[in-house]
């Protein structure tokens, strides 16, 4: 049975509330708007919204919305989607809002396309490709991109390592290992590797990435691995059973 998604708003601006009520009804949501904390908190419990829109500067009190975000996040847990609305374009405001527990931030005056794109995204609703904002090419000079993938170390030996990753890394991917282990095995705290092999780890819902040490390129690393291995106790019967 199809259930409408429920949205609750807290904003002291009457016009905003009217606007949102109209737009959300048109888009087939179950919408309720409040303009004070008391009724908002009541509705939170009785109406049980999937998503809330919170004005950051309620009653003209700068940043009052933060308290609401913090309280609600603590009370309702991670599943409720919290989106902040504000006239301010301040990066600090945005970062603080996200840190206090909001999922995202929208600037006023509200852009309908952007508002509903975000709502649909966070509520896991299907977005019509025709309704999507047009993509532009990123200029070649600026398109460099670096990102980090967290890994778990499963095995270390003098010949290489096995790492667990929830994301798939194709063979021959170039990676630079950083973090606690990299600090131990390399004086630079970073070691360059090429992925040698990848296998699926169905049980842990991810992949086992194999990397190999090159005796020339990684001679210092291999020595540091031996230093590490010196201090590791041999596996017990119990450990072997766990494998």
């Amino acid at each position: 049975m199809y259930q409408k998604k429920k949205v609750l708003v807290i904003d002291d601006d009457e016009d905003i509330n009217k606007y949102l009520e109209t737009k959300f009804k048109l888009n087939n949501y179950d919408i309720r708007c409040t303009d004070n904390t008391e009724s908002f908190l009541k509705e939170l419990v009785t109406f049980k919204p999937n998503l809330i829109l919170v004005d950051l500067n309620l009653n003209g009190k700068n940043g009052f919305g933060y308290k609401i975000i913090e309280t609600v996040r603590k009370k309702m847990g991670p599943e409720l989607i919290i989106i902040i609305m504000s006239r301010r374009n301040n990066h600090e405001d945005i970062i603080k809002g996200l840190e206090d527990g909001a999922n995202d931030y929208i600037t006023k005056p509200l852009d309908e396309v952007i508002l509903f794109s975000k709502i649909k995204l966070f509520l896991g609703q299907e977005i019509n490709p025709e309704e999507e904002l047009a993509f532009y090419s990123v200029p070649k000079g600026d398109n460099d991109f670096e990102f980090h993938v967290p890994l778990k170390v499963k095995r270390i030996s003098e010949t290489g390592m096995t790492l667990f990753s929830s994301a798939l890394m194709a063979k021959e991917t170039l990676i630079i290992l950083e973090g606690a282990l990299a600090n131990i095995i390399s004086p630079q705290g970073a070691v360059k590797f090429v992925v040698k092999d990848v296998t699926i780890d169905k049980r842990q819902n991810g992949f086992l990435i194999e990397i190999e040490f090159d005796p020339d390129e990684h001679s210092a690393v291999i020595r540091n691995v031996r230093k590490l291995l010196l201090k590791v106790a041999p596996m017990t019967e119990e450990d072997l059973h766990k494998l």
Binding site: N89, T107, D142, N143, E146, F147, V153, K154, E172
Partner: protein, 229 residues
Amino acid sequence: MATSKSKSILIVDDDPDLRVFFRKLLENMGHEVFEATNTTDAANLVEKVVPHLILLDINLDEEKGFVLLEKLKQLDPYQRIKVIMVSASTAKKDIANSKAYGVHGYLVKPVTNNQLVTLMKKLQAQLNFPNYIIPEGQENLHVKAKCFGQMSKVNELSFKFVSKIKFNLPHKLECSSSFFVKHNIKHAQFTIFFPSVSITPGLYETRVQFIGLSDKDMVAIRKVKTKKA
């Protein structure tokens, strides 16, 4: 050029001719060789280079070689480093002491080429330190992989990039690009909501949502009107 068969060997002997003899032979076999004339220097080298094997003379100038074995109890509590005692004597007492310490062999001087080569062949397989396999639930050695890609498309809400990584689960992405710096959106959070899409085998396009952009930031992105992708 080192290979994975090359081992690290420490020679502890006060006889310079013997040290040269061992070094030449072992280096010819492709191994890395270190030398010490006393147990203090030897212990320091063990800490510094962690050799696979120690060739230890029982009768050093000022002391007995066994002193190093005592020090090794602390440096190498699980006996990963193999030790071969080298001695001029076949004295039963020395052999008995060596056995008590649990060394892996005994060479009697004068040592021939053949004897050393045969010994190395015999030991080769045992010299690698055992694998360290981290039991499930105890993975506390954290690492992250810095990976590289190229941003391909962008709009006010998200961007796409191409790389050799295929993401399957939604999560926050730690990432950077000149594009973010140039358009002053470094403060944004980046979240992957959808699994990556395969372009060709081994190459994937991933969509990342901008979280926490102000409308001023979006105006900056809109200005990137090179061509519609």
